[in-house]
Amino acid sequence: MPKTRLQVQTEVLYRLGDTAQDIWSSAEVQSSMQEGYDLLCLLSAVLWSRSWLDDVAGQGTYTLPTDLLEIERATWDTVRLIPLRNPELQDMDGQYETTQGAVEYYAMDGDGLRILRKYRVPSATVAYVAASVVGTWGAPRTFHEITDDGTSGTWGLPRSIPGQTVVGTWGIARRAFTVSPDTNTRIEYSRRGAALIADGTEFEVPDWVVKTIRFYCLWRALERNGPGQDLALAAHYRDRWLEGVERLKGRISKKLASRVGVMGGTGETKTRHMHGVLPWNFGRIVR
């Protein structure tokens, strides 16, 4: 079971020897916890998500999801969009803000911190299509036509599907689910976890990662001025926090365990490419 805010708060106060909250209040611990959680997600990019950035006809700029930290990849019609800077767009097309057509590039440069510009500007608003419902009774159990996310649990009713909008707050879905066509913009990104707004809010990272957030809370608590200050122990927990973040980053990037590197070689794999390799500049503007 994922750990909750209350569980971690209890652990922190227990380790501080202050379950009565004489020195450190629950609010202080919760604030540090949220801070540590946000920082961990930002530094390590541990949480990965995909969502649609629905095309709207004639609209060039789009607001990104609030939990988005960094885009890893964007696609349109499942083809990767090339990220460009606005000057590069200007060089390519002086009217890039209004030219409509298939989206091939995107820019996050100068239109606002959380604004993505599509080039070209979509000429059609995305029209969601109805997914087929199999059968006329029972509850839907699998959604692989709608999402790549696995079904969580083996009983009950589905309550949410990542990337899809839930209409209403109660009842059973009666109409066919609608899905986005591929001819839509999709972004893949690292994100922050859901805000720890209640005692029962669960962390989205595994328990062994939550341990690192606990170190962050202990560091902050022991560092601040007051009767409980212990700078040596605070420095130790700070080091454990930093080490935990670095190890997590290393684990996320250590995905090429099966690759064999060769000193002095190109680092390419020894297997033959499955298909012919196009020239490096195929389909791109070359200066």
């Binding site: 499942t78 040596a232 122990l233 995905k255």
Partner: protein, 214 residues
Amino acid sequence: MNLSELEAAVFRGLDESQTSPVYWSQTDVDAALNEGVECLAEASEYNELSETLGLTAARTYYNLKALLTVADRFLRVTRIWNPVASRWMEIVTIRELDEETYARWERTPGEPQNAIIRGLWWLGIFPRPTASTGTLTVYFAALPVPLALPTDTPGFPQEWHRGIVHYALYDLLAQSGETAKAIEHFKHFLEYQAGLVAYVKQRMRKDRVGVIGA
């Protein structure tokens, strides 16, 4: 050392009676010991497992945290075997798929040959299967199940079990504000951790002859 022996070592180190402890409970000691095992497992990745993953038609991404029985204890994938194609899947980066295969590789059907890892636990495959009948054998590192019974033993050699005791002593002494002693025990723990990491990574060290460039 089994859990019972580890507990006894910790209580001795705390100079506390195990039968009628005053300051530290059995629960405190067990929690600290299990966290020590977890830290050692995380650093060394000694717990190597494999499971069969069922493929779903037209699905590219699989949430390993939800689909593998180890769930939250999953650490990372080490290699993947496709029994239908009888080949090891090549773990690549998303950039390689975008630039060295098809532009629409996400929709390309076929027998999976390449794998990518997104985030910490999302496994992507290319090409994507056309039927929900195939499987993959996923080899991965995971945290062990926590020690619970008195006879439970950590899954790595006993030469490094003392490291768990040092971690527990560090954790408990830190809670009681004995910082200097705690940090001293943590340093000893780090030595054991480094030893275990080296042992796990260099298991064939004596017999294997390494060649630079091979």
